[in-house]
């Protein structure tokens, strides 16, 4: 997936001279995960290193976007995106509206996110809810290499600010990637496996986990559909409702803590839009309501195969 992201950035830098890539260690080093490897060699000053100052990184991006550039800044890790929240919440999310459309805010903020790599807590956070709750931002997370390429190119082309959450635990996933434009428009979800008995809803690294669950369920004669939401904002109500109306049951899976997480949002939308089609209450399988634990306890925090299967059993039993 790292190479797919690198290829997407390379294409954006080549195709649009307004594209800029910057952040901590993205230039000379090529990024701590190698996502920006070789870009400075090819594009020179349009790929540059910044000081360790996240608020400054986003502030620079906002100014450049107002001047007509298409900045693609990187925040090195999820937990380090918090020092930049002031600029994100106060200016990045609001400038298009504040200027009544006079300024685009075509910033794509790349944030390596989520857990699963035995890192400390500020390398393992799931910050999607903070951004999804901030009106004015679009929020997206790819589940694998092909998705990463398609979604990053789409995000960079967006006139709105996009928070692009890269699941670190999927960085080393491999698959053939077609460097064609995304077949799906912005805001569209994707059914990655069709099934009849229940729908698993996920994004980022949990899509892969849900596919493992679906394969395990198949052994027991249970047919699960897996829906990759992709875009958390805007959320694809249509595909969500269509899938769950068909299966009658839904389990939402995310790494972020449970309370007020995006699982609650998905569940609420299903209540509003598909209540009469539901055969069981929507279940959530999430991280616990605790700060991200030490690496040795990480496997207890991230939704496991068994925890998801138990939730599936609960919706089947209704």
């Amino acid at each position: 997936m790292v190479q797919a992201l690198n290829a997407a950035l390379r294409q954006c830098l080549r195709d649009d001279p307004r594209t800029l890539v910057f952040g901590e260690d993205v230039g000379r080093l090529g990024g701590v995960f190698r996502v920006t490897d070789g870009l400075q060699d090819e594009f020179g000053a349009r790929v540059f290193d910044t000081p360790l100052a996240e608020s400054g990184i986003v502030g620079i991006a906002i100014g450049l976007a107002m001047a007509g550039w298409r900045p693609v800044p990187e925040i090195q890790f999820d937990g380090f995106s918090f020092p930049a929240l002031d600029q994100v919440l106060t200016n990045l999310a609001k400038y298009r509206g504040r200027s009544r459309g006079a300024y685009d805010m075509a910033v794509t903020l790349r944030v390596p996110s989520f857990g699963g790599i035995s890192g400390p807590e500020h390398h393992s956070e799931s910050p999607e809810t903070l951004y999804a709750h901030t009106a004015g931002l679009k929020v997206v997370s790819p589940s694998g290499p092909q998705e990463a390429f398609h979604l990053l190119v789409q995000a960079v082309e967006e006139p709105d600010p996009v928070i692009f959450l890269e699941p670190k635990s999927r960085y080393w996933a491999r698959e053939e990637v077609s460097m064609t434009p995304s077949p799906l428009p912005v805001g569209k979800a994707r059914i990655v496996r069709s099934g009849d008995d229940a729908t698993l809803v996920a994004w980022g690294a949990m899509v892969r986990r849900c596919l493992e669950v679906a394969a395990a369920a198949e052994e027991d004669g249970v047919s699960l559909e897996v829906l990759d939401l992709r875009w958390l904002v805007p959320m694809d109500d249509e595909t969500l409702v269509e899938s769950v109306s068909r299966t009658g049951r839904a389990v939402v899976v995310h790494e972020a803590p449970r309370t007020g997480g995006m699982g609650a949002e998905v569940s609420a939308r299903l209540m509003e839009l598909a209540f009469r089609k539901l055969r069981a209450p929507v279940q959530r399988v999430t991280g616990w309501d605790v700060p991200y634990p030490a690496a040795s306890a990480e496997h207890e925090y991230i939704p496991s195969l068994d925890r998801i299967l138990l939730a599936v059993q609960r919706v089947l039993d209704e």
Binding site: I117, S118, W172, D220
Partner: protein, 107 residues
Amino acid sequence: MAEFVFRLPDLAEGLEDAEVVEWRVAEGDQVELNQLLGEVQTSKATVEIPSPRTGRVVRVHAQPGELVRVGEPLVTFEVDDEPGVVGRVPHDRGARRRVRLRRPGQA
């Protein structure tokens, strides 16, 4: 005596495989716990592999330059059959489910 298969552990970063760079032990060697077995290279770093057990190296499963996927056998040891293994057992990526599903409508 018992056989102990040391599988390539998840090198703590969600990596899927690693390439063997070199071995510092050969088949037939007696090794101590934590003795350096060799080096593997991931897409991020070169990592030294300490021995998870004291024992005799029976088989080295990959030669330098070969790619080993996480969970695949790296080295097979002959070890003393004693309870209380020291060190962490590398987690196996397969077979992690315990829960079995009942189908809708099944008792």
